[in-house]
Symmetry: C2
DNA sequence: GGTAACATTTGGAGCGCTCCAAACGAGAGT
DNA sequence: ACTCTCGTTTGGAGCGCTCCAAATGTTACC
């Protein structure tokens, strides 16, 4: 009566067998054009929609891949997702997204969720606890602006994960050198917890040392959020007041949101950006592009990252035994209006 | 061998029948504690995870609800989602999110996707084309900061949709009155396409008329994005220059992103916010709360909206024949630092 | 001691689909 | 006319689980 039509209903209406309907559904070759049409017509008329559950159960494949990101609030993921879909959509795969922060907040393990869902592959673009991805038996791709360390552990252990990531070390160096090249010497770095921040920091410190400039790092023990950006910037300003050379002339923040916090602190202190101090962010998130913000930033190519990750997933599904791949994307600085040469 | 363990494997290992395992899985009553433990132990040891597909197929229910939002890039949805999950998680439901813009970009119908997935209910928080939700046979709830118009059509047709929404008309009035009460008279409104913007505009116009002030609307034919906010603000400024009273002393934007565009235009024009002109946004998106922005805005209570929508979905699943419900949430203004009294 | 009443456990019949081996037809070749 | 092919179509056996009716144990009560 009112129940959802099944493949049998379609078959009956089209005057063929359920098997033929199934073939049409997956548009197989060797189906007579007339029958194909008849089936399509019946599908149309009945408003039939195949049941994913049944199909998944029978075929042992959901043709879906899971994407784990860390926080929906950080728009970083949007481009990443667009990249992932750009390669998975044409291949007929569906992608489901979960937010690590949100899942954990409600006491769930998102990876379990994905596995219960029978995803065919998993793309992890968040700093997930290693044990969470320990023995995932589906193709696993690690993607991140994110640094590799916690992931290398996993992939070395069982050789099963492909990884594609922005090179955060290089990005940190790039940022510092960019500022150095513009004549800055007192360059503060606003950092925070977590692997990506740590690598960016490391790169920054190295570049500063090479240039013979003193590394000035703040906020290491805080989050990589706006509040800590604000706080760390204040510290940098206070330290600069008491210390030798005065306040920094440039600031490199571990990400765009922290940079935004820094800009608030600078404005509150009566300092102008970029006239008095230059601010450089990281991620090239949508935030940075707003006309009111115009933040110069380091671009980790998140869209490309997503596309590469998706391709790796596809490749591994095709060839599960192929040697794992690694790909590092070289970051680049995006000039907007928050950075300029020193006046000094 | 290497295959995923099934319920039978667990049963065998625990020395019980598959049915008992199934009971334990859905923690049914009337199961002896000892057996329950044994089953749990076996599950643990085997790393067993139930197959959602099989369970969905057998039980004719996925215990999942779909949430359709309009654009991942607009962080408006984050709180909405949190609200939805806050009621659905405890009830044991899973929620899957799709982004209308993204789905359409890849030529898919997200609702079809949800239905193929057999969601038990659908929450639509985007301005989906009516035909898209036409004959959805699952409980449907419409949620929005979004105005009701396009939805009322649908729900009146078949009486099957519950709706909860922010009252955009009231919000528009509220915004205008708020500014009026602070002594502003030349209050420009930056608007755009789409039902929510239209209703906010209508409210604004009414309140202005009631106060005997002239409505000044710009940007109606553009999007509700940053670029149009910028452009509309420029127009308002130019018009003010030529016309009678000078540039507006206050601006009410149809949403926060447009307000941000307006702030950029104002800054470029050498005008300060709020000293020279007040800016009021709408949505109370995360954007507005950044220290660097501190945008005063109208709060549509998106979290509560999500929670109410989820509850409605739950209620309707429990009682499919209950009369449809309507709920309008009264917006409120959130004071930050972008609005102040007129000096005049 | 026997049995009713309940608590606990179990096998079987699907859920709607895919996939396979087998059946069917219709020309082509001899 | 009769095989052979090859392209097309079909029934049947699951996929891993839920749900039901029925079986089995256990306790209590007469």
């Amino acid at each position: 009566m009112n129940a959802r039509p099944t493949i049998y209903d379609v078959a009956q209406r089209a005057g063929v067998s359920k098997s033929l309907v199934s073939l049409v559904l997956r548009d197989a070759p060797h189906v007579a054009e007339a029958k194909r049409e008849a089936v399509k017509k019946a599908i149309q008329e009945l408003g039939y929609r195949p049941s994913r559950a049944a199909s998944a159960l029978a075929s042992q494949s959901t043709r879906s891949v899971g994407l784990l990101i860390d926080d929906f609030r950080n728009p970083w993921f949007v481009e990443l997702l667009a990249g992932v879909r750009s390669v998975l959509d044409p291949a007929g795969y569906t992608v489901t997204v979960a937010d690590l922060r949100l899942e954990e907040a409600s006491g769930r393990n998102p990876v379990d969720g994905f596995l219960a869902q029978h995803v065919d592959a998993l793309v992890v673009a968040a700093e997930a606890p290693p044990e969470m991805v320990r023995d995932v038996r589906v193709p696993l791709v690690i993607a991140g602006t994110r640094s590799l360390t916690p992931l290398l552990g996993k992939s070395l252990d069982d050789g099963a994960a492909d990884v594609v990531a922005g090179d955060d070390d290089a990005g940190g160096q790039l940022a510092a050198r960019h500022l150095l090249a513009l004549g800055h010497r007192r360059i503060a770095h606003l950092s925070g917890q977590g692997a990506p921040a740590e690598h960016r920091r490391r790169g920054y410190v190295r570049a500063m040392a090479e240039a013979g400039a003193e590394p000035l790092v703040y906020g290491v023990d805080g989050g990589t959020d706006e509040a800590n950006g604000f706080r760390a910037m204040r510290q940098a300003l206070d330290a600069g007041g008491r210390a030798a050379g005065g306040p920094p002339t440039a600031v490199f923040a571990a990400n765009d949101v922290m940079a935004l916090g820094a800009m608030a602190a600078l404005r509150d202190a009566g300092l102008r950006v970029p006239e008095d101090v230059s601010v450089l962010g990281y991620d090239d998130s949508p935030l940075a592009a707003y006309g009111y913000i115009r933040l110069s930033t380091v671009d980790g190519h998140s869209r490309r990252l997503g596309a590469e990750a998706a391709q790796m997933a596809l490749d591994r599904m095709a060839a599960p035994a192929a040697p794992p791949r690694r790909l590092l994307l070289e970051p680049a600085v995006v000039e907007r209006s928050s950075v300029r040469e020193t006046i000094a």
